[in-house]
């Protein structure tokens, strides 16, 4: 029997929401790691019972938790993230050099082929890899040291590597994004990297067309067509048809093109979703109406999805890692808000209902489709 498991990271713990394929009735488990920030939790596509979670605290630092039974029980694994060699400096907000310092893991991306291998995107921005189920971690230093690292600068949320997208077709290819450095691609399993920001334009940086310095919020791809990338930038929704070699804007008729998450329908590679947010100084939906926007044309032409979502007095935000899709026949779309709601649609976004309404602020949402 099919079902879904939704992994929710919040400011005060993790929650596991489960349902059968109808996605009408939900069981809620949690909080796991109560009181801690759970920036992200994600299951292995190879072994769905294997889940990795990033647990952190301003007081007690970083922990990585691992479950081998689908989130019922957890064990802490390795938490030593040490930059390789001399860490060096990046730029601080005022443009002065600032030493690279590990703060937390923002994103965990399990390998597509090996349940023991998992990648971690961290703040200050770097990529780490574990090949032993999270027990030990080693930096992939080619990213931080490829050349532009000393010029990277933090975004408002810190200098975080928040997006890791693995290419399921081209072996060794992966995409990452850093706020506020931009997007990067590796074609050799993370050994070497290149910036892929041509076509991005960001007002507020000295050279609006610079190779790095762009505040990329999220990148998404469809596994059947990984050369096509969709990006929610600080401002602008962008698209690349050549694996990031060039980008063009597809914001079209969106009411605002500021936002954080972007995702792709599981079965329709040209159907994409964003949640427009009013501006970088007002992090809530325009007009107090929480609307997901869907494009069935790969961008430019967007329709608001509102059924079941609050259409007045709604001033929550939806963070970059807080949207996901399932791969059931009728694709489910999920997102969580800073107000603690997790909304689900079992029909590609036409109708929405909250799974839970009163969690702590949601930092991340991932979905596992259980067959």
């Amino acid at each position: 029997m099919s079902g879904v498991r939704v992994l929710v990271g919040t400011h005060k713990g993790a929650f596991v929401l489960t349902s059968d394929g109808k996605r009408e009735r939900w069981e809620v488990s949690g909080p796991h790691f109560a009181g801690w920030d759970i920036y992200h939790a994600k299951g292995s596509p190879v072994d769905p019972n294997r889940i990795y979670a990033s647990q952190s605290s301003g007081w007690f630092g970083q922990l990585i938790q691992r479950s081998d039974d689908g989130g019922k029980t957890w064990q802490p694994v390795g938490n030593q993230f040490t930059y390789e060699g001399v860490a060096g400096t990046h730029q601080w907000y005022d443009g002065t050099p600032h030493p690279w310092e590990f703060k937390r893991v923002w994103h965990l991306e399990p390998s597509l082929t090996d349940a023991e291998t998992v990648y971690a995107g961290v703040e200050d921005a770097a990529m780490f890899r574990s090949a032993d189920g999270g027990k030990t971690w080693a930096e992939l230093p080619g990213l931080r040291k490829h050349g532009s690292g000393p010029h990277w600068q933090p975004g408002a949320g810190g200098m975080c590597l928040h997006t890791i997208a693995l290419d399921p077709i081209n072996a060794g290819r992966m995409f990452i994004a850093i706020s506020a450095a931009g997007a990067f691609r590796s074609d050799d399993s993370g050994e070497t990297w290149k910036p892929i920001n041509r076509g991005l334009v960001s007002q507020g940086i000295p050279n609006p067309n610079a190779e790095v310095g762009h505040c990329v919020h999220r990148i998404a791809l469809h596994p059947s067509r990984p050369d096509v990338l969709f990006m929610q930038k600080h401002w602008d929704v962008m698209r690349s048809d050549d694996a990031g070699e060039s980008w063009h804007e597809v914001s079209g008729n969106l009411p605002t093109d500021f936002g954080f998450p972007i995702d792709v329908h599981a079965h329709e590679p040209e159907t994409i979703y964003v949640v427009p947010i009013k501006s970088d100084s007002e992090h809530y939906p325009p007009e107090g109406k929480l609307r997901v926007y869907r494009s069935r044309t790969g961008g430019n032409e967007w329709e608001p999805l509102t059924k079941g979502l609050p259409q007045n007095d709604c001033y929550v935000n939806v963070l970059r890692d807080a949207m996901a899709v399932d791969s059931l026949d009728d694709c489910g779309i999920y997102f969580g808000t800073t107000g603690g709601q997790v909304y689900a649609s079992a029909d590609s976004g036409d109708n929405w209902a909250p799974i839970v309404r009163d969690l702590p602020a949601v930092l991340s949402v991932e979905v596992q489709t259980l067959k």
Partner: protein
């Protein structure tokens, strides 16, 4: 035997209730007590001090016998009362937030 009181989050992580005790051989210092604590509860590694530099995490404080030991050298002997287990070493999350 040295008595230690952990903050709530670290008690949960170490799966202990209330006060705990560790055995220290040699001089009783912050370093030797933390070494013993991490050896007995490996999940605490990195939560009180940095893995590599061994520097105290900024929001972690050490108290004993109504004294703040947070800024002492990790090799300074702890008070006799801690060494003799009449008083516990208190590991505290710094007050922050509302």
């Amino acid at each position: 035997m040295i008595r230690v009181v952990l903050p709530a989050h670290l008690r949960t992580l170490a799966q202990v209730n209330g006060e705990l005790s560790v055995n220290v051989t040699g001089p009783v210092t912050l370093r030797s007590v933390l070494d013993a604590l991490e050896a007995q509860y490996p999940t605490l590694k990195g939560t009180m001090r940095d893995h590599v530099t061994q520097k105290r995490r900024p929001f972690v404080r050490f108290f004993a016998c109504e004294q703040d030991l947070s800024h002492d050298s990790p090799d300074t002997p702890l008070p006799d009362a801690v060494a003799k287990a009449t008083e516990p070493l208190l590991i505290v999350g710094a007050m922050a937030g509302g």
